[in-house]
């Protein structure tokens, strides 16, 4: 077994997998079940000032693929709707029972120094390992001036982070909203405010579907709907990019990242770690399949590390950062061509029609003579866009093969066409 233990913002964790602040971490019962299943930590469901919020009925919407698999869900839930005292008592109890597991207290408050500071102190006193600032919730709470309403204003990100830093001596995680144009701006603000780490992403503002009978966006609350927060597998590409942007930004070198967004499998986890994440948080995947998914997340990650010869997570953490560059640094002289393996080709024609209609007319249909078809790439026309390989239904049937054209590496700034 590879060593999955790690340290995130100074907090030791038996593996990198925490549950993100959300319904799976809403109360003691869920959290203990998660710990029994093997999760290393939880970010408790976001706590606010008393009186607790009130939620509506009908809360989640879904975006499915045609095979009825969930690509993403959105939600219009608010923060914890149970009293602060009950939550804190439960946190204390779980901390005592599960000494080797991590609990982070998530919080939000209106823009008021005293409110932030008092709440942060109360939560810290329950014995949590760290505090996460929820500056991301893009629905409901933002209409009350909290969540993404704070996260979208860099000065407020910095200020709330600083307020919390000033009153607690445990690590502070600032959780960022993806509903901004440049993630580096709030990340830098969090750093200026003194955050030990940034957690990202929170949910993406969304309408997942419109009910065409009710003529209302889903989820529908008595004939009306509102925009909600989108998460799950579909947001992983957005999260990966934002994590990478922060990891490779020179101005905020050293900022630790607790990566969140669409992590469903060990492979997703490994990808985030390769882009520099110190730890990982999961919400939707647990909501869809239950806490048991942790088994394969840890086993798969160990297996991957064993095969690659990585003993610890640090052995490959951030390994993909150096290869994540600006477009201007790409080699314009690199050439790759599609190659169709005729033995595994099933003659479906998908590559042909994709290239013919929308790419470069580089796949020619021939006749094998016995009524069967034959597909060949015209290398002179192929620009190496990968589209055919992406649409091919047979694994490894279309391979993109780099060709040696004898030309030296050349970037766009150096390119003769760039005058």
């Amino acid at each position: 077994m590879s060593d999955l233990s790690c340290t995130i913002a100074g907090i030791k964790s038996i593996n990198p997998f925490w549950l993100a602040s959300a319904p799976p971490t809403d109360k003691q019962y869920n959290v203990e079940r998660a710990f029994e299943a093997g999760w290393a930590g939880v970010v408790w469901k976001t706590l606010g000032e008393n009186p607790p919020v009130v939620n509506v009925s009908s809360r989640y919407g879904v975006h499915k693929d045609r095979n009825q698999s969930v690509m993403g869900i959105n939600n219009i839930e608010l923060i914890s709707d149970r009293s602060l005292e009950v939550n804190l008592r439960e946190i204390e109890d779980v901390r005592r029972k599960w000494p080797d597991r991590v609990i982070i207290g998530s919080m939000m408050a209106p823009i008021d120094e005293q409110a932030w500071k008092e709440l942060a102190i109360k939560i810290a006193n329950s014995g949590v390992h760290g505090i996460e600032l929820n500056l991301g919730c893009p629905h409901g709470m933002c209409e009350r001036g909290m969540g993404s309403a704070i996260g979208q204003v860099p000065e407020l990100v910095e200020q709330t982070t600083r307020w919390v830093r000033e009153v607690v001596d445990i690590p502070v995680f600032t959780k960022l909203t993806p509903n901004i144009t440049n993630i580096l701006v709030p990340a830098e603000a969090a750093m200026k405010g003194g955050a030990h780490a940034v957690s990202l992403i929170n949910t993406v503002n969304s309408i997942v579907s419109v009910d065409l009978d009710a003529m209302a966006p889903t989820p529908i609350v008595d004939n009306k709907g509102t925009h909600g927060g989108y998460c799950g597998a579909a947001v992983k590409p957005i999260a990966l990019n934002m994590v990478a942007e922060i990891a490779r930004a020179e101005d905020i070198q050293g900022m630790e990242i607790s990566a969140i967004g669409g992590i469903e499998t060990w492979r997703d986890a490994a990808e985030f770690i390769a882009l520099g994440a110190s730890g990982l948080q999961v919400c939707t995947a647990a909501m869809l399949y239950g806490f048991r998914i942790i088994d394969d997340m840890t086993a798969g990650l160990s297996q991957f590390m064993k095969e690659k010869g990585y003993r610890t997570l640090d052995d490959f953490r951030g390994k993909a950062i150096a290869n994540t560059v600006d477009w201007n640094q790409l080699n314009m002289n690199f050439d790759t061509k599609a190659f169709i393996d005729k033995d595994s080709c099933i003659e479906c024609g998908r590559c042909h029609i994709a290239c013919e209609d929308t790419a470069h007319q580089a796949i020619v249909i021939g006749d094998k003579g016995d009524g069967r078809r034959d597909f060949t790439v015209d290398n002179d026309e192929c620009v190496g866009c990968n589209l055919c390989a992406l649409v091919c239904p047979v694994p490894e049937c279309i391979e993109m093969r780099p060709v040696d054209n004898g030309l030296p590496p050349l970037t766009w700034p150096e390119h003769p066409a760039n005058i």
Partner: protein, 451 residues
């Protein structure tokens, strides 16, 4: 997924309820969940081989894509636009030698996409909706077409001709429409009176009049129709059945399989039909298979299908032969009927054992006998030519040119009575559709209208 039928055990006969189960759908219709996962296995091929393998060229990838997008009515319309009897074809086509055989999934050793079952799913959805007929008629052409025979060929021709703006009168010898859909296809393929429901649906286009009890050569003559109508289409199928030219072939108990199936299809209560204890079916095609399986499901204790050659020479598909075996039909190969024995009624049947020697089939010189109180003869149907005088007929089929026109001007033909392809429902539907277009062209070329 074949439903478990009941067979007689320990000398008991089947109950009416068991018989009803035995003749309900052979394949249960797909549920919505099953349809989605079946549709998902379709790759959405470009210029898909399955389309070419369908005699009516249904745009299969498109209709399956429409099931995936939950546009199931649109999916049914895609099917029906190419094949107005897509519902029957979904139930009766030997897909294992048509579309599903061409599915590219076969190349990887996977199961092909369940095209037939998906087609049924879509068409059933549309027909259950009680929505207006999906197709509309072009502007009235003022032309009137006579169609002889309300089988798949005639009905398909009628529907397409009506769509193209022509009026149609169908002359049908029998009391019901549908042809072999109503009288010939196995009962478990056409459960719940499907043939009649489909005809009603098809007639909803309007402009089609059906006259029953009107047989060509008896109540109506071709000459008369040629003068009264702007064009004539003949879709009479194959009206004669071959008989066994053997001593004893008139003994009670010897029956043609076509008549047996027709009686079964038409009976109100199948448990009242009499069935032998030892039934022997003669033949190697799908009629023989259907007769044997239905005899078994009706409660026959022993059913043997006897064929004079080997399994490879049978015209029934492998799938059909397997279905017969799994229904408990004993298959006796290389057995050529020699005599039908019995005094007052049939008691047994004797066979010559056959061999193949130097490419020729020969009697081995051995005779064996099977007990039989019922023999069902399924050795082929032929064209009934007496009513088709004046038409050029070759090799037992009406001769047509590439525009479906017979040797008589303005007289067209299609379906089993011509040599277009295999004698299958789907081919008859295609013939009728193509003939309607040919007639349409013929009519606009000869646009001087009759008085």
């Amino acid at each position: 997924m074949v439903e478990k039928p009941a067979y007689p055990a320990n000398g008991c006969t089947l109950s009416a309820a068991q018989i009803e189960t035995n003749f309900s759908d052979l394949h249960k219709p797909l549920s919505a969940t099953q349809a989605i996962s079946a549709a998902d296995s379709c790759i959405y091929c470009y210029d898909a081989p399955c389309i070419n393998a369908c005699p009516t060229s249904i745009d299969i990838p498109t209709f399956i894509h429409q099931i995936k997008t939950a546009n199931i009515t649109g999916s049914a319309e895609t099917i029906l636009a190419a094949n107005i009897m897509g519902g029957t074809c979904a139930r009766a086509c030997p897909t294992e030698v048509l579309c599903e055989q061409a599915c590219v999934r076969n190349h990887t050793g996977e199961e092909p996409v369940q095209i037939g079952a998906l087609q049924r799913y879509a068409v059933d959805h549309l027909m259950a909706k009680d929505a207006p007929h999906p197709f509309s008629r072009a502007k009235d052409s003022g032309k009137h077409i006579a169609i002889i025979g309300a089988g798949p060929a005639g009905l398909s021709c009628a529907h397409r001709a009506a769509m193209l703006g022509h009026d149609v009168t169908i002359f049908e010898a029998k009391a019901k429409p549908g042809g072999l859909n109503e009288y010939g296809l196995a009962a478990y393929k056409m459960a719940d009176n499907y043939a009649q429901r489909e005809v009603e649906f098809l007639l909803d286009i309007g402009g089609i009049t059906l006259e029953y009890g009107q047989a060509l050569g008896q109540q109506v003559s071709l000459k008369d129709l040629q003068t009264r109508f702007d064009a004539v289409f003949i879709g009479v199928g194959l009206g004669d059945a071959n008989t066994l030219n053997l001593p004893g072939n008139t003994l009670p108990g010897v029956e043609n399989a076509i008549t047996f199936i027709e009686n079964l299809r038409q009976s109100e209560d199948k448990s009242e039909l009499s069935i032998g204890s030892n039934v022997v079916v003669i033949g190697g095609g799908n009629t023989a298979i259907d007769a044997a399986i239905q005899a078994k499901r009706l409660g026959a204790k022993h059913v043997t299908l006897a064929y004079r050659r080997g399994e490879a020479q049978m015209s029934a598909t492998d799938w059909e032969v397997d279905l017969a075996r799994s229904n408990g039909v004993n298959i006796e190969l290389w057995a050529s009927p020699a005599a039908l024995n019995g005094s007052a009624a049939l008691e047994s049947i004797s066979f010559d054992s056959m061999i193949i020697e130097g490419g020729a089939y020969k009697k081995k010189g051995e005779i064996f006998t099977l007990p039989a109180d019922q023999v069902l003869v399924a050795i082929g149907q032929t064209l009934s030519t007496s009513e088709l005088q004046g038409l050029n007929i070759e090799k037992g089929k009406v001769v047509v040119n590439s525009r479906a026109e017979t040797s008589l001007k303005g007289v067209f033909a299609g379906g089993d009575c011509i040599a277009s392809g295999e004698d299958l429902t789907v081919q008859a539907v295609e013939d009728g559709k193509q003939a309607a277009h040919a007639i349409d062209q013929y009519l606009s070329a000869n646009s001087e209208t009759r008085a």
